[in-house]
Amino acid sequence: MRVKKTLGDIGFGFAVVVLVSPALLVFLWMLSLSLKNELDNTAFPPVFIPTEPTLDNFRQVFERNDFFNYALNSIIVSFSATGLALLLGVPAGYGIAKMKATKAAVVILIARITPGLSYLIPLFLLFQWLGLTGTLTPIVITHLVITVPIVVWIMMGFFEGLPGELEEAALVDGATIWQAFWHVAMPLAKPGMTVATILAFIFSWNNFIFAMVLAGRETRTLPVAVNNMLTFEQVSWGPLSAAALLVTAPVLILTLLAQKQIVAGLTAGGVKGG
């Protein structure tokens, strides 16, 4: 019996390794490519551990000073889109929960199932007509399509789960509904807001299609910039991997730090941007 159990445990451990390794190996390979010189990167059979680990690839990426420009664009867009979504979406989630107007959430579901491209055609024409192309404004506005539904969806569920007694007590004591929201419900909803903020930020940061269509030379976000490296330049694997790693590193680190909240948020809503 004991032998059978040990064998079962070994088998199970092996299965877990098999499940986890595709994720792990792709990221390790990305890291390996970014730390190797051109000779190692074009060797066949492939070199796994860099013979002479080098940071040259990263230096090359940083030396192109437009990388910082694109990084700044990404930061501005993701922070603005997340901030605005919280400003709009947290009260809205509260209102929907209080009014039990869950039917309003159908709009959110429609936003979830609509392909990102379908917003782009009319909005592209609208921004052209308004003369906003070439600025970051259209990119921030389109990113709201991703962040607002995430925030509303998570906050709605969170406020529905809060007991109403505390706010009702505040209302009895003469608070306005706005005060009850601000001083009673909001502090209780902090964990929900953390989850909403993290997920909205990540999916805005990762978004490619909106900025690809709307951005001009100066207003590219990082995913667009890194894709352009592949298309328009002689492909050199080292710098390309280094750039790719730099683009996705903030998100991966955030995931590692906040994995509990992320798992909770995603399990609850099945949300995903774009």
């Binding site: 877990v16 595709p22 990221f27 809205a92 392909p115 009319p122 009895v172 299609i209 099945g270």
Partner: protein, 304 residues
Amino acid sequence: MSATALGPSEKASGLGKARNYARHYWWFIVPCAVVVLATILFPWGFTLFMSVHDWKIGGGREWVGMANYQKLFTDERFLSSMLRTGYFTALAVILPMLLGTAAALAFHRKFPMRGLARTIFILPMMATPVAVALVWTMMFHPQLGVLNWLLSQVGIPPSLWIYDAATVIPTLVIVEVWHWTPLVMLIVLGGLASLPVDPYEAAKIDGANAWQVFRHITLPLIAPFLVVALIIRAIDALKAFDTIYVITQGGPGTASETINIFLYLQAFAYYNMGYASAVVVVFFIIILALAGLLLWTRARVKEI
């Protein structure tokens, strides 16, 4: 929105009155509703309007009625993109569903370093799709790519991966599976966490084996979660864009041109805005039909 806007008379309210407040909560929703109208509903209306016009950027626009739709259903390129999307979606739904459910069952058990293993497992779905797509592109390189080297180690002849019309879609499915299996896992894991304990104890007493327990207790209980995962995965697979666009741009030729890529090219490479809008409408109807079909199946499953 401010407190004073609600008027002082409403301040002194009892518990009963608090419930009558309901309509005042509208003010919490209005700003968000305005933005949603502008960014989500306005595009919908405008798309319908554009789809009945011949509308080119730089050119004029002309009312053409249903001509864009008629053209669409005789357009060989669009029809084959529909078939390709179906092929891609079928594979990119079935594989993540199977793998994701298996992974959820594994992560539902307690084992050392489970938290770390689970975090690594969900990393792909949080990673920036473009960045990951670039790494996959390098791995698919026929001469220097690491995947062909791995194949050679186990005695399988090298593949052309994304460079051959016959293998390009299954290859893109690999990336999609890698990316989105974690989402299926998380949804199913949420279902497993909510299971009651009693039926399992009863089954233990009755001497059921592991497979019988899974087949007759776990599977029926998590079925609603599986359907949710299935709907989400099917919709996401239908509208997959980033990885396909970055890795192949629809190529070689049009061998990986799905509806979404076709739509992108019509709108932003050829600037046929009217025609592209018709594609959006048809595409959305397909997505809604699929979601509706899956929800209907779910209702049927519940009856049985």
